[in-house]
């Protein structure tokens, strides 16, 4: 079941590579589109067959691989990874769809995108630390080339920066993984086999810090973030969509899966610092975004701010806030993908992304009114206007974090106000006002260019109005992530007298409302 998600892209990449030399670009494009469509449909089918009430990893697959190392090919999916797998399929499809039809070196391009998708899917599915690490590194290589070959003017600098940063992140993560397994004398690298509670708290903290910095680069957290704006500005539109929509989620996914889940004890020790760090990230991202003049940079910095909320919610670690992280990952994936697509259309038609030059693009006859309207929707979604997905995810996070970290939550909420400031300035400057002479002859915008953003807009509004549809997949998992003791207690009623009070005990072991 699950291997399909990993191997369809790989096989399709091979197929694109083996296509005869004479075959045209559109054939490769179609192969990639069909393969991605298949993967996406498959992930939706998985969601249908997924048992939302089971907190364990489902559809598990196990193949022994290198036993002495403790490495096995073990896949599984739970409520945390399922939504991410679905947006991975969806956004990769959209990225391929919105790639230039006459792109340079199409064969390599489609192969790399397909490999990227397979690598990310594998990382989300892996149930073995080493396997996760392999996929995590695998995804890095195609992305490096995608930025370095099809990027903008400073693509070499941006791609190298990205590679170095992410490689460093990989090293830190690998070190932490090896440390965890060797120090705790776990029999293998399987997620279930590891129990860090046996370790002294000092070594737990060291290992957890390694992990947090490692994934913090990927998320990215301030001050480990400077690769992101550069990578976004230099990458082409479809790659930006993937980078913001899917790849950043690997960082937050890792933080939740390995930070929070493997180190429940030391996590609570570090949580207050993490929450403060999150506030710094949120406000820093928002303030820096206000001062940007490049539309893409603005959206990139907004990503930093939005990912900061996830760290805050992860630090608070209440059932609601963890659910909020899943929600925020998906909503940020969809909304930032939509914004990047629209910025891409504007750039393609006008040749610039500078908000001090652009103006009046909402002009009904010679501008791009529908792109403008979609931009307003995307911007409002990102700023957290109710009725769209950004709002409910932020509300879940704030409501979930407030009891634990009231001050930090309030400071992060200032971030949503600031988000409105810069995104509104973006729309106001570029779309409102008078269309200058130089843009009076813009090329026509085709429906095929609007369609991906249009679809995402519908999805964002739909899930904003009907959030139940997403919550039901993740709720069981996110609740169980926090209270393994309670889950054990209900399964094995040895501590029978305590089971009744177990949830209350767990509640009180966390820092509670200080008000």
């Amino acid at each position: 079941m699950l291997s399909v998600l990993v191997w369809i892209p790989f096989v399709a990449a091979l197929l694109v590579g083996l296509l005869p030399r004479s075959s045209s670009t559109s054939v490769m494009r179609w192969v990639a589109l069909v393969a991605m469509g298949g993967t996406f449909v498959w992930s939706v089918l998985l969601a249908v067959r997924f048992d939302a009430l089971d907190a364990n990893a489902q559809f598990q697959e196990l193949l022994p691989w290198i036993e002495p190392l403790g490495l096995s090919y073990q896949l599984g999916v739970d409520g945390l990874s399922l939504p991410l797998l679905i947006i991975n399929g969806l956004l990769t499809w959209i990225a391929i769809y919105s790639s230039d039809e006459d792109i340079q070196r199409p064969r390599l391009y489609y192969i790399l995108i397909l490999l990227l998708n397979g690598g990310v899917a594998g990382a989300f599915l892996a149930q073995n630390l080493l396997l996760f690490f392999l996929f995590y590194e695998l995804e890095l290589i195609p992305l490096y080339f995608l930025i370095a070959i099809w990027g903008g003017a400073r693509r070499g600098y941006a791609a190298t920066k990205f590679l170095l940063y992410t490689a460093l992140s990989g090293i830190l993560i690998l070190a932490a993984f090896l440390g965890v397994v060797w120090l705790s004398h776990a029999p293998s690298f399987e997620y279930d086999a590891i129990n860090t509670q046996l370790l002294p708290i000092a070594s737990q903290l060291v290992l957890l810090s390694l992990l947090i910095v490692g994934f913090g680069i990927k998320i990215p957290l301030v001050p480990l973030h400077t690769w992101l704006p550069d990578a976004h500005v230099e990458a082409s539109t479809p790659i930006s969509v993937l980078l913001a929509g899917v790849l950043l989620k690997l960082g937050t996914y890792g933080l939740l899966r390995f930070g929070l889940q493997l180190f429940p004890e030391s996590w609570t020790v570090l949580a207050p610092y993490l929450a403060t760090w999150a506030v710094v990230s949120v406000l820093y991202g928002a303030f820096t975004a206000i001062a940007q003049t490049d539309m893409k940079k603005m959206v990139a910095y907004s990503s930093i701010g939005h990912m900061g909320y996830i760290l805050l919610a992860a630090a608070a670690a209440t059932p609601l806030s963890i659910l909020g992280t899943v929600f925020q990952m998906v909503s940020h994936g969809l909304i930032s993908a939509m914004l990047f697509l629209l910025v891409g259309v504007v750039y393609k038609k006008t040749g610039t992304r500078d908000i001090t030059i652009l103006s009046g693009l909402l002009n009904p006859e010679r501008g791009m009114p529908i792109v403008g309207s979609l931009m307003v929707i995307g911007v409002m979604g990102s700023a957290g206007i109710p009725g769209m997905m950004g709002f409910i995810s932020e509300f879940l996070i704030f409501r979930g974090c407030f009891p634990v970290f009231p001050v930090q939550t309030l400071f992060s909420m200032i971030g949503t106000g600031l988000t409105a400031v810069y995104l509104l300035l973006l729309v106001n400057r570029t779309f409102f006002g008078r269309l200058p002479e130089q843009f009076s002859n813009l090329p026509k915008v085709y429906w095929s260019e609007r369609l991906p953003a249009f679809g995402l807009a519908i999805l964002i509004v739909f899930l904003g109005i009907q959030p139940n549809w997403m919550v039901r997949w993740s709720e069981t998992t996110t609740t169980a992530m926090l209270a393994p003791e309670a889950a054990i207690a209900t399964v094995a009623p040895i501590k029978a007298p305590k089971t009744l009070t177990a949830p209350a005990v767990i509640q009180s072991s966390r820092p509670t409302n200080t008000l």
Binding site: K161, L164, V222, P223, H225, T226, F287, T288, A289, I290, A291, Q292, T318, P319, L320, G360, N363, P364, P369, I370, S373, M380, A383, I385, P386, G387, F391, I392, F395, L396, F398, R399, G400, F402, P403, P406, T409, L410, M413, I414, T416, G417, L418, A420, V421, L424, L425, N428, F431, F432, G433, R434, P467, N468, V471, E475, T478, T479, N513, L515
Partner: protein
């Protein structure tokens, strides 16, 4: 049937939204052959349906007590977001007021916006506007109300920015959104805190909670201040009042709604929040202080405006200030009555203004004059609206003001003074505008001024009649006091204050030198009021400057410090590599020796314990 419609009251807000969705083919330009009119008709039809539905439900609600409607929207972990709807005569009456004024405004805009190419988009936004407002009227959940307030913020932004190609509109739309957003974010903080503290967001349960809640003074003060800041932004109260004045750059039919019912929505939330605000005395004091400041300040500022819409919009702030005072003093019935009377009278005044603008193509009252004989219906509307607004017996404004004076008569005499001052200043301002616009000799732009077409005249005349009927409506709702028990001196004082304002306005000189005095002190005063006490300048050198500074600094820090360190590390490693390469000779024997030495060193180091053991053996 009645009962069924009452049960289905939750549908009322959806009519407007459906209308907005139905306009999409025209507003996106998909259907061009028919012109944009069908979109407008669809919207009107949906609004009429909402009105009829609401009317039947309202009648039914007077006799029947329906089951409370609770919509279970979202449930996750320990959070249960279910929306309670308040189906009561008050809420349905508020919804009726909104839909009624919405119909009139939409009808009016058929004429007003006739030549606008984006008529369909305008109607889509109006439908959205109406849906959000009726929803707000019916909502009995703080969460839902908050969400709808944000929707109103969004639609205000889009409606103010309707003519987005004009520079003033661009800044006006931006300021409207951001100012309201400041209030909204603070309100969201309050909502989140309240949800955590009380565990619920439905008003009825919050009221129960508030009765027994024990909070530390700091928490309750912060909570109260956060909760009132949303309405402060929405109702254009000091210090978040600048947007309403600027928003007058938008189309007039939207201004009709904005100055009557949209601002009232903010106040409506405030009234709903009032039982919770009791927890914080500071918040109540803040309401009274801010309300007083705005009521008197805005009344003064209105006098110095020469833009006809701005002169009226500042008086909107002033009346909402009175509402704030009333809520702060816990007289919610006074607040509701002021809102009701003000909404109808102000809507009428703005309709009349709209006809003047569409006929004369100007908003500057110094360019007008002598319209009374040319536009009789508009003149009647203006006079009726003005009389309905100030405390003139027997119209609505009088009864609402009297209610207020009655409430404050014994304990808070100074607030009676505030009411009388606002009344006098408003009377003065309206008389001033009336004289400049309708009396005097015709000027260039008012010489050829035919009465407006029927699409605008019909709603205007209907609203004139409704304004005249307000006392009758109040009577039907048993809101009028018995004549025998009335405080005679209050009545006299109120009438007197209006009379003073009227006489001052009638006798003062506005033409010629007085429009721009050469006397320094008077000029200074005039400028200060005309520029709204320079509050926008104050913002520019404080909040905006600060945000700008911080963002510039963080961008600089990001570019030169954070990124600079990274690039420095990169540079250092390249440099060291470049310089180290000169140390190699190229002899492979040397390389081999180095490798051998290195490997053996590593081997010795790793196996050191073994050697150690061997040596000791």
């Amino acid at each position: 049937m009645q009962e069924l419609l009452l049960e289905a009251s939750w549908l009322i807000p959806l009519y407007g939204l459906v209308g907005a969705v139905l306009t999409l083919p025209w507003s996106t330009g998909y259907i061009r052959r028919t012109g944009p009119r069908p979109a407008a008709y669809f919207n009107l039809l949906m609004t009429i349906a909402a009105l009829v539905h609401g009317a039947i439900a309202f009648r039914a609600s007077l006799s029947l007590a329906p089951d409370p409607i609770v919509i279970h929207w979202f449930k996750a972990a320990d959070l249960d977001l279910s929306f309670a709807l308040d189906i009561s005569p008050v809420s349905l009456g508020a919804a009726e007021l909104v839909t009624g004024l919405s119909i009139l405004a939409q009808f009016f805009s058929l004429g007003y916006m006739e030549k606008d190419w984006a008529l369909a988009r305008f109607f889509a936004l109006m439908g959205f506007f109406e849906g959000a407002m009726t929803g707000l009227a019916l909502s009995d959940s703080l969460f839902l109300s908050y969400a709808l307030l944000e929707m109103l913020t969004l639609s205000t932004y889009l409606l103010v920015g309707f003519w987005y190609a004009q520079p003033l509109v661009v800044t006006a739309a931006r300021d409207a959104f951001l100012t309201k957003r400041v209030g909204d974010v603070l309100l969201l903080m309050g909502v989140v805190a309240l949800a955590t503290l009380s565990g619920t967001l439905n008003f009825q349960e919050l009221y129960d909670w508030a009765e027994t809640a024990t909070l530390t003074p700091t928490v309750s003060t912060l909570l109260g201040l956060a909760l009132i800041s949303g309405p402060i932004g929405k109702c254009a109260q000091f210090p978040l009042h600048m947007w309403l004045d600027e928003a007058m750059e938008g189309p007039n039919p939207a201004s009709i709604l904005r100055n009557s019912v949209v601002v009232a929505c903010g106040a409506y939330i405030l009234i709903k929040l009032q039982p919770i605000l009791i927890l914080s005395p500071t918040a109540s004091i803040a309401l009274v202080v801010l309300g007083t400041m705005t009521a008197i300040g805005a009344s003064l500022v209105a006098i110095a405006q020469i833009d006809i819409k701005r002169a009226l919009s500042h008086s909107t702030s002033a009346y909402l200030g009175i509402v704030f005072i009333a809520v702060g003093m816990q007289w919610t019935n006074v607040a509701l009555m002021v809102l009701f009377a003000h909404a109808i009278a102000k809507a009428l005044l703005f309709m009349s203004t709209g006809s003047i603008i569409v006929t004369t193509s100007t908003q500057d009252i110094t360019e007008m004059g002598g319209l009374w004989s040319r536009m009789p219906a508009t003149t009647t509307a203006f006079v009726t609206g003005a009389s309905g607004l100030i405390g003139l017996l027997p119209l609505g404004g009088f009864w609402s003001m009297r209610e207020g004076i009655n409430a404050f008569w014994y304990d808070d005499v100074w607030l009676v003074g505030v009411l009388l001052i606002v009344n006098a200043l408003t009377a003065f301002n309206l008389t001033r505008v009336f004289r400049l616009v309708f009396l005097g000799s015709p000027k260039v732009k008012t010489r050829r001024a035919p009465e407006v077409p029927w699409t605008m005249a019909v709603p205007m005349v209907s609203l004139t009649i409704i304004t005249l009927l307000v006392p009758a409506i109040l009577n039907r709702l048993y809101l009028l006091p018995d004549w025998a028990y009335m405080n005679q001196s209050a009545v006299v004082l109120l009438m007197l204050s209006g009379l003073i304002g009227f006489l001052a306005g009638a006798l003062a000189r506005f033409s010629g030198v007085w429009t721009r005095s050469v006397q320094m002190p008077f000029k200074f005063l005039q400028d200060m009021l005309a520029y709204d006490f320079y509050v926008d300048q104050l913002y520019r050198v404080t909040v905006i400057w600060l945000v700008n500074l911080v963002s510039q600094f963080s961008a600089w820090f990001d570019r030169y410090i954070v990124d600079g360190v990274v690039n420095l590390v990169g540079l250092a490693s390249i440099f060291s590599g470049e310089s180290l390469k000169y140390s190699v000779s190229g002899q492979s024997q040397l390389y081999l020796l180095t490798i051998l030495l290195g490997v053996s060193f590593l081997g010795v180091w790793l196996t050191y314990p073994m050697w150690n053991a061997l040596l000791n053996y």
